[in-house]
């Protein structure tokens, strides 16, 4: 199948290095301490953060002077093309929960919140490829909204390699084409990688190109998230101010 047309356009009309449209909204869950909705094209994810709050299950607490971070990932039944009822703890969602938890733990300053726990709930409302990155981006926004101290914003983006072209931000069709799929999560100002996952194989020189492209994408997302947060903070401040 042809994923990049001779004119250099992809199936959905994007250029190979073009990202899907980003849209974010902060404060979508009123009861949560922090929440956000993040859209990358047709992928739509909602994240809610509760905490830092009292540890509910004392047995889970390993380290007493660090906050416990928990994450739960779930996909809505209606999020995919075919409506399948998935059991709650299937292997895929457990794996993604773990990935998100480890990525977020890397940036949260857990030592500032001893004896407490932070719960992150992410749910996929529409799945169209790149749910993993969308979840991480939404979780970052929600954590920042909850006022949890972080050393940097984590952002994530995927990239692939199809028809001997590196492609940024794969959608579902490109994702399921069987080519390589690299998901990268970075700390943009520190320039550190916190997440790197790849399906299939790639030669090292091409991998570097694809990785570079994904990193560029992460930085673009970071700029967008930063703008959103700054706007949101400004709004809150001037309304309160008296």
């Amino acid at each position: 199948m042809e994923f990049v047309s001779p004119e250099g356009l992809r199936l959905d009309g994007r250029r190979p290095t073009e990202m899907r449209q980003l849209r974010a909204e902060i404060g979508v869950v009123s009861k949560a301490d922090g929440s956000a909705m993040f859209e990358m094209g047709n992928t739509k994810v909602i994240a809610a953060v509760y905490g830092p709050r009292e540890v509910q299950n004392k047995g889970q607490q390993i380290n007493n002077d660090h906050a416990l971070v928990r994450c739960e990932y779930s996909m809505a039944n209606f999020s995919t093309g075919d409506r399948v009822r998935k059991p709650k703890g299937d292997r895929r969602s457990i794996e993604i929960s773990l990935v998100i938890r480890q990525t977020m733990e890397a940036c949260i300053m857990t030592h500032l919140m001893p004896r407490s726990q932070i719960d992150i709930f992410v749910q996929v409302l529409q799945a169209d490829g790149g749910t993993r990155s969308a979840c991480i981006n939404a979780a970052t926004l929600a954590l920042a909204d909850a006022g949890i101290p972080m050393c940097d914003l984590v952002t994530s983006c995927s990239a692939g390699y199809l028809n001997s072209t590196p492609l940024l931000d794969l959608n579902y069709i490109e994702d399921s084409a069987g080519g390589a799929d690299v998901t990268v999560g970075i700390l943009p100002t520190l320039d550190k990688v916190t997440l790197l996952q790849m399906d299939a194989k790639l030669p090292t020189n091409i991998f570097e190109d694809v990785m570079q492209l994904a990193t560029e994408g992460c930085k673009a997302i970071a700029n967008y998230i930063r703008e959103m947060l700054a706007e949101n903070t400004k709004q809150l401040e001037f309304r309160r101010d008296s």
Binding site: E7, L9, G13, R23, E25, I26, G27, S30, D33, G34, G51, P52, R53, E54, D65, M109, M113, P114, R115, S116, A144, D145, A146, G147, I148, P149, M150, C151, D152, L153, P188, T189, L190, R226, M228, L229, A230, E231, N232, T233, K234, Q235, L236, E237, F238, R239, R240, D241, S242
Partner: protein
Amino acid sequence: MGIPYTYPIDVTGIVGYIRTNRYPFVAIRADMDAVAMQDDKPFPSDLCRTKQSLGFRVFILSKSGVAHSGSEMRNLQLSLNQTQKIRLQSALEKLESLSSKSNANSVVTVADSIPIYEEGILKGHGTLDRKGELVATVCGVVERINKLIYVRSLRSRYKPETGDIVIGRVIEVAQKRWKLELNFTQDATLMLSSMNLPDGIQRRRTAVDELNMRSIFTENDLVCAEVRSSHNDGSLQLQARNQKYGKLEKGQLLTVNPYLVKRRKLHFHHLEQYGINLIIGCNGFIWVGEHVEVEDKLAVDQANDSEQQIGKSDQNSMDIDGQVETFTPLDTRQNICRIANAVRVLSALGFSITMEVIMETVNLSKTMNLDIHEMLGSEFYVLVAESEAERRSVTKRKR
């Protein structure tokens, strides 16, 4: 296909609209004749041609919607009509222009670097030293006090300070202590020993007192107390050594974001014209309840104690007394609801909550002759936003 269109335009043209009611607008002009297109028709200047391939051109008309998405109301699901939307927008813009300009520049987000103007600064909360550069770890406003630089975060859990008046809900009765939930990172503890006993006598707490702890507060009771100390490991100690502290009854609890409550000299308010007690807890818990005379309560408690000593036979009669006691007149209940709704509106709009602002909102609703339930309608939100803008501009002029 269900797409609305207009036809004909220039004999063979057709215009279809696929609506999302959202930005950006994308115009696609497609020719099916594969003849090279001529840009003879002038388009508005803000058009930019983005894609061109095989007689198929896409124009993005306007992206200005992106900037506005942030100004939508958070946590506010209101159906505003067009006029109300514009009025709310203009009121908020007025508020934005009124806010001090210095604040607008000092807003930081996570990992933004904070400029340092002098040597030997002290870094406070919400900051981090990274290779000699000071960066923020939370979203908020940079505050500089002499050499101390810290970031005041807005939306976050309650940050306790000694002496704060807080309201909490009892979630556990443990040994010699109650565990209270007060929107803090941990449950706060209220020791039996840092509590005034109902009989008002200062003495050592005995094992009997410990057994009777549930007669003072049980689970799910609301308690007003004062922050005694917060420890290094994050735990929080409370005390209630005063008659005005204690269990809260006959009223409503409202939770707002703690950043909306400013620390004041006075957090207990007695609104005499309504017969209502208003307690604005520093942790964002606000209590609106019927006014209770402190001395009366003590006397009643003593009377109860003496009755308990008489015997269990009187228990039933006392319960009936208790029921008579809990009757709250309809007027008071309505006033409680009115004040509670005023707080709800203010917190949804994100305005700081003080006694004066609450009373102003209540008076506004009364002068508008609005019913209590109408206070949560979209019209009243717009009115409150407008009056707040008015109020702030007046106070600014006075300065």
